[in-house]
Amino acid sequence: MSQKCCKTMNSSIMKKIFMGISGLLLCTFLIGHFAGNVLYTVNADLFNIYAHKLVTNPLIYVAEAILIIIFLAHVVTGIRLTIQNYTARSHKYYLKVKTGRGSTFASSTMIYTGVLILAFIVAHLINFKYGAYYGTTVDGEPMRDLHKLVAQFFMIKLNIGWYIGAMVVLGIHVSHGVWSAFQSLGLGHITYTSYLKVIGKIFAVFTVIGFSAFTLYALIQGGY
Amino acid sequence: MTTSKLDSNVPSGPIQQKWDQHCFDMKLVNPSNRRKFNVIVVGTGLAGSSAASSLAEQGYNVSAFCIQDSPRRAHSIAAQGGINAAKNYPNDGDSIWRLFYDTVKGGDYRSREANVYRLAQVSNNIIDQCVAQGIPFARDYGGMLANRSFGGAQVSRTFYARGQTGQQLLLGAYSGLMKEVSKGKIKLYTRCEMVELVMIDGKARGIITRNVINGKMERHLADAVILATGGYGNAYFLSTNAMASNCSAAFRAYRKGAYFANPCFTQIHPTCIPAAGDHQSKLTLMSESLRNDGRIWVPKKENDTRPVSQISEEERDYYLERIYPSFGNLVPRDVASRNAKNQCDAGRGVGPTGLSVYLDFRDAIKRDGVDTVKAKYGNLFDMYERITDENPYKVPMRIFPAIHYTMGGSWVDYNLMSTIPGLFVLGEANFSDHGANRLGASALMQGLADGYFVAPNTVPNYLASANLQEATTGHEAFGEAEDSSKKTFDKLLNINGKKTVDDFHKELGKVMWEHVGMARNEKGLKEALKAIPKIKEEFWQNVKVPGQNNNVNLELEKAGRVADFIDLAELMALDALKRKESCGGHFREECQTKENEAKRDDEKFCHVSAWEHKGEGKAPTLHKENLVYKNVKLTQRSYK
């Protein structure tokens, strides 16, 4: 019984389901992250309070743990898929040409864009979560001045450049990922598949423009 | 001439009760004993797959063999139109009796009444079985099965799955086969060619096969052998058959004593895409339904090479509409085919080779609009354009008849057993149900009737009563059969001549098409009987078969088949010469009515011609099974 269960969990479709669910959850995280970023443009204190409340809430550890699990599941499954898919055809083609009617740049580069995103996230955590500590006091409560850190970080144009670059990579990744996740979860349909693809693309454009806008906003606003 | 072995074993009693009574009278094998019997099935088309799975379901051990890489590739897959059954769902007056009657009449009164009645009887069970297997037949909006009228039938009795009915039925039978393979009741041998039949004590007890991948010969022992290896249309080189379709299994059984019946009964299909040149490897059929809306014509002037647009209406001869005003373009297959040949012979053929006639949709498009025509025939038009690079919406299609189906085959009795005890022959490989001409949508019906419902009843009856002795594959009969086929392969490999196998096959095809084709006459047939032995002689001295017998050697496979085709071709010509009447697909120019219709001679030829092999180099003996019609009145066909 357990063996059978293990087999089911390891099956190709199950892996795709993991990939799809974790991917979609990460997309919802992106939306949450975006909402947080919006506060940056509203008011520095508000942004700092939000950040402070987020990190001082004891539930943050649970949330972070879940996020890490989802993220690792996505990464590990993605790597496993890639390795298995590579070995599914050990004798490579002498010549292989795409039909031009199926595979897209995004769909064929998922593992590469994925690895770049992973690298970006590590850097992103180092830049901000583990970046320089500036203190501030809001309504008498001492807290980290994350707003200042962000503002200073994006004063450097190179940072803006590679952050926007990373967002483009992320956009490419989700432009295939969102639709692909729905397909893997069995939601493809003769009529609705095309809508799903459009939704995926809109989401991708939103991700690129939305997140990039913050960096430019930070630059225009200037540092302290 | 004798009738000794030719006991049709048709049960007595009224025709409606024969099969049921026979089923009751036949011996049964106790369910627990069935696993002790082994049955070999050669061929995995409709008949083979369905027989193999049905016998395995009953509990027999079945070994199934096919030459393709998968049973699903058998040529049944290419049938387009549909499958007949006497369901009478449309309430338009159909019945088992009518289907029986139409089939006997369509076969021009050269089939065995009792067999045909049984075919009509079980036709309904076939549809039930296929639907239960998950075959997605066409349906109407209420969810019920749709029917259409096919091949000029007066009732709508044809079930269909788009233009791919054969494919769907075969995949259904194949799925049943694979179900039993997964249970271990069928052992499946793919890429395996039967090269010899093995007989012990005068009974079929096994086969020798050659593994196509490594050339290994294998011995297979069984209690009964079923051949379901299809027809022999490729004797003509160009036909609508698949490249691997061949007569070898049935013909090697013939050499071992299984009589071959009515070899000259071949069917020509009128709406095929014409050959483009000498390089043509096979012909492609387009559904006959095209004749419902397309109008067939040729230019009135001989050798008129002007483009269609320059030929005015008055200069066109819609010859079928002219000669057959009441049936017009919908005359039966053989009539349409012969008329096309006549036009081309008279120099009015069109296209680069002059061997085609126009099938024009201009008027249909004008009348119904492009969209309607596209909805009906879109996929056929696309196929035509892909092959010819001509757009049939703009210029008329060009069509020409091609060999399509062979009604003749191994002689079998009512139980589908050949003259060799224990050797059963099903589907197109036998001669049984279509007489001298097959109705449209009846081939699929017969294949599945034989495989699902007839053989699974008659083969056990044989097993229960045969009293077979114990044997092993070490028996000397296996040794002899293996040695002789090995010798044949070695011989072929060692000739090392100048001409390729295809050279000979094309040469044979030309002779056959010329003299044993759509219209035959004594002079031509005699010429063919002179030409074919010459081809044979040269073949065995001058063929070039490269490679060895221990590896994939497609030329060696082909060579063995062509050698058999040459011998069968001779038999076909001989049979055609002896049958001095016209009936169905067999048209003797000497025997025609004033209106150029086929004229039967029921006095002299109301019989099955079954040929017995008398040994290499000796003339075969003709045996006759007289056909008695108690239920059907013999009439002369007229389509005027």
């Binding site: 087999k7 089911t8 099956s11 190709s12 479709i13 389901i17 898919n85 070995t87 599914a88 055809r89 004798h91 083609y93 002498y94 292989k96 040409v97 039909t99 009617r101 199926g102 595979s103 769909s107 692909s180 397909q183 979860l185 069995g186 939601l187 | 049905s54 379901e57 998968s70 049973p71 699903r72 590739r73 058998a74 290419a78 639907v131 239960a132 997605p136 349906r139 109407d140 969810g143 019920m144 799955a161 194949y174 049943g176 694979m178 179900k179 793919t190 698949a242 490249m243 040149g277 390089h279 490897s281 096979k282 492609t284 010819t388 690079d389 703009k394 419902f453 390729t500 590896n551 497609l554």
Partner: protein, 253 residues
């Protein structure tokens, strides 16, 4: 408008030659003159083979049978694409007129871990039979069927089922998939039965056993690249894959 012509061209062929399943293979160059543009691609190979035989060389082995696009026997990677460059066209229905004079054409076998090469361009695709054997059928013994019209089936479902059932089992979906996944093939069979009431009884077991078999045979995982759909000579849609995923999820509960 095209139409038949006497045009002849010269082709430079690069063809994979491999003696048997164990031997190493290599690409071999052939120059073929006087190729009529009205020839089918396989007739062009026939022409080359006839020449090779006359020259005492081993002809090229390739799978083919019906030559009318329905049996699924023909395969070949032609200039890097399964069944060549034309959409919804099998190799046997591809014609030389689609190529140019003096064009180089690279011809190789379908590749996947689950497919072995028997010889030259001839490939072992029995893995597809193994997938069908794992559950690609409805368990109904002969004689066991109710009247064909006893169960009404919605026309739309029957049509969708037929769309999926048209699969010819050629394996082009696998050959063209960057991952050598067999999802389109497997899902076509699963879909055909999932859409029909007759197939629903065994639906859970069917999808599980077929997917399990597909994985065991060493086919890759689907990453929704859609090359399978793009290359399928019968136009089978990846919505069938979504349906199989759905069936798989349903089978978990």
């Amino acid at each position: 408008m095209g139409g038949l012509s006497d045009k002849k061209i010269t082709l430079n062929l690069k063809i994979w030659r491999q003696q048997d399943g164990i031997a190493d293979g290599k690409m071999v160059d052939y120059r073929l003159n006087d190729v009529k543009t009205d020839m089918s691609f396989l007739e062009m190979l026939d022409l080359l083979n006839e020449r090779l035989i006359r020259e005492g060389e081993d002809p090229i082995a390739f799978d083919h049978d019906c030559r009318e696009g329905i049996c699924g026997a023909c395969s070949l990677m032609i200039n890097g694409q399964a069944h060549g460059p034309e959409a919804e066209t099998t190799t046997c229905q591809l014609h030389v007129r689609k190529f140019k004079d003096e064009q180089t054409i690279v011809v190789g076998p379908f590749r996947a871990e689950a497919f072995g090469v028997h010889k030259d361009l001839m490939v072992d695709r029995s893995a597809l039979d193994a997938i069908v054997m794992a559950g690609g059928f409805i368990t109904v013994a002969t004689g066991n069927a109710p009247d064909a019209n006893a169960i009404a089936i919605r026309k739309e479902n029957a049509e969708l089922s037929m769309d999926a059932a048209q699969c010819i089992g050629c394996g082009a979906c696998i050959a063209s998939c960057p991952n050598a996944a067999a999802m389109l093939f497997t899902s076509a069979k699963v879909s055909q039965f999932a859409l029909l009431p007759q197939g629903k009884i065994e639906a859970r077991e069917r999808v599980r056993t077929m997917v399990e078999k597909m994985d065991d045979l060493g086919f890759g995982n689907c990453t929704n690249e859609q090359e399978c759909e793009a290359t399928c000579p019968k136009g089978i849609k990846i919505t069938n894959i979504a349906r199989m995923n759905r069936e798989f999820i349903k089978s978990l509960f």
